[in-house]
Amino acid sequence: MILSIQYLYWLAGAILAITALMTFTDKNHPKRWTTGLFWALFSLVFLIADLLPPVWVGIGVLLMALIAGTGGVGLGRHGELPPKKRQASAQRLRNKLFIPALAIPLVTVIGSVIVKDAHIGGVPLLDPKNVTFVSLGVGCLVALALACWLTRDTPMQSMRESRRLTEALGWALVLPQMLAMLGLLFNDAGVGKAVAHLTTAYINMDYRLVAVTVYVVGMALFTVVMGNGFAAFPVMTGGVGVPILVGVYDANPAVMAAIGMFSGYCGTLMTPMAANFNIVPAALLNLPDKNSVIKAQIPTALALLLVNIVLLYVLM
């Protein structure tokens, strides 16, 4: 392939290294050294981690967690344009300001839907396994060029802005990856098997409605713990769905699978473990309560879970 995801890792690593460097040289930063070290370690994950022994990477990850856990990741002071200037700039550029912002999703979609199978000289243009990520990377570069051109600002300024937002997000930027790592470790340690064993061994599923409820609620609960419906699906469907719903009650497997997975998604809406969807946005929107997005989602998720029990009971 011509555009491999490896380039994006290097790009991300470079951006984070610049962020770390700016923090290290920022004399007014209240937590200059620990914050810089945190982002420097994270940049190494992208730049060279695949060349290091995994044990070292593991130690690095624990070190990052320790820095974050002891409050070592802090915010620097960042010079914003005065409001007057910003208003003036907004008025000058008007709707043109939307163009680079909308270019990111637009290029990503064009890349992942239209250009996805393009070949040049028999070599695929985009990394076939990571089409969406690579398209997003290209989209960001296009948008960055557009943004610099429209605002007459420099790429260096965009790095300062990137640092401002990265520091504002703080460790929340790293949490999704930590949780995904934990999901893999849970799998290796057999957590899924243990949960499935508990649910199937101690609940009497002689009634159709009980079996349906166990499957739907089990999918949601298991997803709340694992943070991911994909991890819950094999466990609950292997433990309850296939042997009991299909085996005993003769359910339509397509209906069971579809509604089962959506029940898992209801769980995703209610758990801090799905940090990418629930914790990161709270950080991005500067909400003081990191759980406020989850709180906004719980009523929809619970109502939908109830609907799923009824739908599965009726349709299967």
């Binding site: 990850v61 939307f98 680079p100 997003l136 605002t151 849970f186 397509a254 579809a258």
Partner: protein, 243 residues
Amino acid sequence: MQTTVNLWPLIGVLVIVIGFVLRFNPMLVVALTALATGFAAAMPLETILATIGTGFIKTRALPLIILLPLAIIGLLERHGLREHAQHFIGRIRSATVGRLLIAYLFVRETTAALGLTSLGGHPQMVRPLLAPMAEGAAENRYGKLPEAVRYRLLALCAATDNIGLFFGEDIFVAFGAIALMHTFLLGSGIDVEPLHIAFWGIPTAICAFIIHAVRLKRFDSRLERELGGQQAAPTLPAAVSQE
């Protein structure tokens, strides 16, 4: 069912639940959970560290989605993107928070159902565009919002993006989740057309839209009830005067 299943790894679940409930730093909670689960499963320390390391490298693609757009969004914000987004919605007189978010929910869910899942997202759509527009729509009607209301409104913007994405993407046949379900069922000796799995997701997807849209509508009436009275002060600032 009397096979020997090792229940000790469940300690990990316990650690993470307690950690989150007691509101320790999540990064620290996850790291401790990883260590505890590994020890409970009788892994040697070196294996645990290596598993953590490999897992962290394998999942490196995740933060890209958040990290890469930051430079662009930051630069545009410096030049007034949020101010302009608020101003833009201010010119649409009929816009309310509920109507705006219902329209967004509809577009987000249907495009995701067509496989266009990247037409949204928190760093590139919600923070720079959707949130300021929703805020602008509310401020146009009720003036400056009390902090608590403003936080609820912003959280609702993020929630709407999530719900539209989740319940749309899963009825797109070529989506990874469908492939996962298909493969798993095949492994259990059940052969189902992926198209059928996608099709039977539609009832839930429609209910998700209805339930959330009703909640958004009710948020509108709640705003009207709580803040409608103080509307008296003419709070259509620069938005109108410069037309």
